[in-house]
């Protein structure tokens, strides 16, 4: 079996999601190649080449691939298909965008958001917002899957670098064009891989209050910031902070939910956290059914007090 793993990157750095998906790819057995498709992404290819267990890195370089547009990216992957039995990508917004396109072109079903590789053709994946776990087997000649990164540890680096080979980039026939990107820039840890996440909900009431209450807590803990969908919809927090069934799936050591009720769609994104703290004024809030530590009361008093306590104890 030979597996092609699609790298997640921004043309300059390799995202940790790739090393996590590599752990899933490794569980398939067989040889692993990583495809770095982008523009001037040599540094990314070099980082990929040093990951443990990677036999070869393929570098597809072109203007059309600069922004991971799905049409040229899928065509680039499918052009390589003859040499591979499995296609793996992390279930990031890029992976979710392109891999079903690849699967359809290969006439196979994609296995989405794999959380466990049971055997090279058998996988576990959550359905119904994580309220059920399915075990599925694929009889297809080729496997196409996306990997839930929070379920796999990152594969280590430090491999004696494997060779980097240039491959043809597809053009995508001009079906779509990149217009612009508005990416959040922040010095905070990345939400998807942070060790501690603090999340705020609708209860924060405004973007100003969200910042005033939640940011100092995140700073005191060196934590990433998250939010419920209600907080995102109300404009208190940017969309890329959304945790849940349809947002980011996180599994940090510590998750602190502030003023979040605990709808199943939210729980789907954070219930694998090692330790959950919930702060909510309603002692009946469903979030308390999954919380290890429940603090019942007004978040506008409790969160600043918690921040002070953490600072005091250092």
């Amino acid at each position: 079996m030979t597996t092609l793993l699609i790298a997640e990157h921004d043309n300059s750095t390799l995202n940790e999601a790739t090393a996590r998906a590599l752990s899933a790819a490794t569980a398939l057995g067989g040889e692993i190649h990583i495809l770095v498709a982008g523009k001037d992404a040599r540094a990314v290819a070099e980082a990929a080449a040093s990951l443990a267990g990677v036999a070869k890195v393929l570098l597809a370089d072109s203007d059309a691939l600069a922004h991971a547009l799905p049409e040229p990216l899928a065509d680039t992957i499918v052009a390589l298909a003859a040499g591979y039995d499995a296609f793996v990508a992390p279930a990031t917004s890029t992976g979710k965008n392109v891999m079903p396109r690849v699967a359809a072109l290969l006439d196979v079903m994609q296995v989405s958001e794999v959380i466990e590789v049971v055997a090279p053709d058998t996988f576990r994946r959550p359905v119904y917002a994580g309220n059920a776990i399915q075990t599925v087997r694929s009889a297809a000649a080729k496997i196409v899957m996306t990997v839930r990164t929070s379920s796999f540890p990152p594969a280590p680096g430090g491999n004696g670098p494997s060779p980097i080979e240039a491959v043809e980039a597809a053009t995508g026939s001009g079906l779509s064009a990149f217009v612009e990107e508005k990416l959040s820039t922040s010095d905070r840890p990345d939400l998807a891989s942070a060790r501690i996440v603090v999340s705020g909900g609708r209860a924060l009431g405004s973007a100003e209050k969200f910042s005033e209450i939640m940011l100092p807590l995140a700073d005191a803990l060196g934590a990433a910031l998250g939010a419920s969908r209600a907080a995102v919809d109300a404009g208190y927090a940017p969309n890329d902070w959304q945790v849940g069934q349809t947002g980011k799936i996180v599994a940090p050591d510590l998750y602190i939910a502030c003023g979040i009720s605990g709808a199943i769609q939210h729980l789907a994104g954070m219930k694998e956290a090692k330790t959950i703290v919930a702060i909510n004024k309603d002692e009946e809030a469903p979030i308390f059914q999954v919380a290890d530590y429940a603090l019942v009361g007004d978040l506008f008093a409790l969160v600043p007090a918690l921040t002070e306590e953490l600072k005091k104890r250092g």
Partner: protein
């Protein structure tokens, strides 16, 4: 401009889903079913384009059992003009749904297809992308904003790092994100009116599509359950416990 909107009948998002004890699936008997929430957003977007005079006709399609007619009627009550039910009694996977939709697109020749980004039962997040691939069309997935002008669609997409805007040549596929709009509730008069709108029934074989599942579902199990922990009396006690008991600080 014609818009096709595939709508899926799923267990209502407010229902607490129960897994059957024998591992054969989830309990669907006597469970409230509704239109997939992302598809309501897709219908709403199409209806707004019709109200704005940009779209001329909206066709809602559902692939599923006879009861999926109700889902189509909901779309008609929201403002779609007519419906197509492709009747299928067993589960139909995203790849087969995409193939059925491709056949319908070839017959109906829409300029745009609006799908939900994800069905909240299988959480697959595949069908729109697959349909785009099969048709050779561009795709704008996870759309939070959509603008149409001169044969193209400009889609602002919710991506992991923030927002990305792309311009698609029409015809194109768009899949909806929660932030795109707030879907309307159908009024009683429009529900009554929807009963008279045309709804045609087909089956997959007529369209030449084999819907035999490609993935074998071996079992469906409950996830490991978390249990409620303890209530702490103060922030001081919380920090103590996080340090000594949980060891996460």
């Amino acid at each position: 401009m014609k818009i096709l909107v595939p709508v899926k009948r799923v267990i209502d998002y407010n229902v607490k889903v129960r897994v059957k004890a024998d591992g054969s699936g989830v309990e669907t008997a006597n469970v409230k079913m509704s239109m997939n929430p992302f598809d309501e957003i897709a219908v709403e977007e199409a209806v707004r384009l019709k109200e704005a005079g940009t779209a001329t006709e909206i066709v809602a399609v559902s692939i599923g059992p006879a009861q999926a007619q109700d889902t189509i009627r909901t779309a008609l009550a929201m403002g779609a003009d007519r419906g197509i039910l492709v009747q299928a009694d067993g589960p139909v996977e995203p790849l087969a749904v995409a193939k059925i939709l491709k056949a319908i697109v070839e017959a109906e020749k829409p300029d745009l297809v609006f799908l939900g980004k994800q069905a909240i039962d299988d959480d697959a997040n595949q069908t729109g992308q697959m349909l785009a691939a099969l048709l050779g069309w561009p795709q704008g997935t996870f759309a939070a904003k959509l603008e149409l002008a001169d044969g193209s669609a400009t889609v602002t997409r919710e991506v992991d790092g923030g927002l990305q805007t792309v311009k698609l040549r029409l015809p194109a596929i768009v899949t909806t994100e929660l932030g795109l709009n707030q879907p309307r509730y159908a009024s009683l008069p429009s529900i009554m009116k929807a009963k008279k709108k045309p709804l045609e029934t087909k089956n997959a074989a007529d369209l030449g599509v084999d819907v035999t599942p490609r993935l074998e579902i071996i079992e469906t199990r409950e996830p490991s359950r978390r249990t409620a922990g303890v209530r702490v009396g103060s922030v001081g006690e919380l920090v103590d416990k996080l340090k000594s008991e949980a060891g996460v600080l």
